[in-house]
């Protein structure tokens, strides 16, 4: 306890406002606290599979496991997953679309982005017909950019008011 501590204590005692303390997050602790890095998470169905293998602490293997896990999620038709996951959960996932996709789809079809969408659709039509005739002479990247720019711009405020 130095001289300065005394002063700060006195100031603390005299100030009318109180100090905010964050809530203790321990109540959420998961049973598997021992898996490296990823251990703090409550087990997701896909996670359980990898948690069994992460007992070996070899980091590279772990990295590969997680990569595999990421890849796995790309294909929802994974057998193991299908076995373990109850069916209702999958239905839920299909119902709840990512809000970003939803807002952007709405925006793409709105009047605001109609010109960009028109150009993009026309380009896609043109290029696909070129492809079927032999080779595409152009691509629709620029048209895609304009449409994506319009849609994200329009969706940004709506998205931020939805996300936490």
């Amino acid at each position: 306890m130095g001289f300065w501590d005394t002063i700060t204590d006195l100031v603390d005692a005299a100030t009318p406002w109180s100090t905010a303390e964050a809530e203790h997050p321990d109540s959420h602790k998961s049973p598997q606290g021992d898996a490296p890095l990823g251990g703090n998470a409550p087990a997701a169905p896909a996670k359980e599979i990898s948690d069994e293998t992460t007992a070996e602490t070899d980091k590279e293997e772990k990295a590969e496991d997680e990569t595999a896990e990421v890849k796995k999620n790309e294909e929802p038709a994974e057998e193991e997953e299908a076995e373990e996951e109850p069916e209702e959960e999958e239905e839920e996932e299909e119902e709840e679309q990512d809000p970003k996709d939803k807002f952007e789809d709405d925006c793409k079809n709105s009047k605001q982005c109609a010109p960009a969408k028109h150009h993009y659709d026309e380009c896609v039509e043109r290029v696909t017909s070129q492809e079927s005739e032999g080779g595409a002479k152009e691509d629709c990247v620029e048209e895609f950019f304009h449409l994506a720019h319009c849609a994200t711009q329009c969706a940004a405020p709506k998205l931020w008011s939805t996300l936490k």
Binding site: A22, A43, A46, D65, E66, H149, T152
Partner: protein, 323 residues
């Protein structure tokens, strides 16, 4: 160089013109009785000089007018949309619950490929984790000890002062595991890319279901409009409900991307909250000082402002009028 020599040559031309003009006026003065310049010749001179002026402008635009774009829009990449990040406002801090979620996403997804080597475990204490959580997390990893008496380097569990471990032993191992592409360290990523948070959020959420018609996507690459060149070696990594948030937030793709981006912003700029608080303190102190100077000025000027200069005319009796 060119510009300077060009300038010098024009100076010379001007000097010549000036001399010529002086000579002409001298000559004109000496031959004032000569014939006047005919109006036709004057008109021709005016028209010619105007033509030269217009021509020089045209020539300039021919040379420098059109901007040359060395890169196509696809090579530039789509410019990331600006999102209204709350933590980027002047008087707002990081949302530490979001940082906690973002760290979870980093640990469970990104850490498989990306290191975060500039962040020590101690940095998490009080900002994202409690001391005990951070200690427990550090102890899950092994680090080299100092050489012991026999010169052997042993392993010890991690401490708060240790830095986060990298997923690969070295860059070569990282490249080998990722088809030759190096997943960069994410510690300073938010500061290292044009667009910062907006770019990273857009990059993570911007993978379209399929590339636009006709687009060329190289072998082993994925189409992402925001990545310069549009072909990125990192495949889409975030999918809805990939992680299970401990606070019950729904883990949609965009939610995870937002959280991990804010977390990466914290990793690159952990001093931000303190910096803003210090900034506010500076504003408070300077405004107090400014108010004090205003009062001091009023005090110092008080006698000047309140003085009264009066002219008391001398009494008639004392004045001698001379008439």
């Amino acid at each position: 160089m060119f510009a300077r020599s060009g300038l010098r040559s024009t100076q010379r031309v001007f000097a010549g013109a000036r001399n010529g003009a002086i000579n002409v006026t001298k000559r004109a003065a000496s031959t004032s009785s000569g014939a006047e310049a005919s109006p036709v010749r004057l008109n021709i001179a005016a028209a010619a000089s105007t033509a030269v002026a217009i021509g020089s402008i045209a020539w300039y635009y021919h040379l420098y007018g059109p901007t040359a774009h060395a890169m196509t829009p696809a090579e530039e990449g789509l410019h990331a949309t600006k999102y209204p990040w709350v933590h980027q406002q002047w008087f707002k801090t990081f949302d530490h619950q979001a940082l906690r979620r973002g760290f979870q996403v980093y640990r469970e997804v990104c850490a498989a490929c990306h290191s975060l080597q500039r962040v020590p475990y101690r940095a998490f204490v009080g900002t994202i984790l409690t001391v005990d959580e951070a200690k427990a997390m550090a102890e899950e990893n092994e680090y080299d000890t100092e050489p012991n008496d026999q010169g052997e380097i042993e392993k010890r569990p991690g401490k708060l002062s240790d830095y986060l471990p990298a997923p690969y032993k070295n860059d070569e191992a990282a490249r080998f595991a990722n088809n030759g592409a190096l997943p960069p360290d994410l510690s300073l990523m938010v500061k290292a890319r044009h667009g910062g948070c907006d770019y990273i959020f857009s990059l993570l959420t911007g993978y379209p279901d399929e590339p636009p018609a006709g687009a060329q996507v190289g072998a082993g690459l994925n189409f992402n409009p925001y990545f310069p060149g549009t072909g990125i070696a990192m495949a889409r990594v975030l999918y809805d409900d990939l992680v299970d948030y401990e606070d019950g937030t729904r883990a949609s793709t965009s939610q995870m991307a937002k959280d991990v981006t804010e977390f990466l912003n914290w990793a690159a700029e952990p001093e931000m909250d303190d910096r803003k608080r210090t900034g506010l303190k500076v504003l408070v102190v300077t405004s107090i000082l400014f108010a004090a100077t205003v009062w001091v000025k009023r005090y110092k000027w008080a006698y000047l402002k309140s003085r009264k200069i009066a002219y008391a005319p001398p009494k008639d009796a004392n004045v001698q009028h001379r008439q």
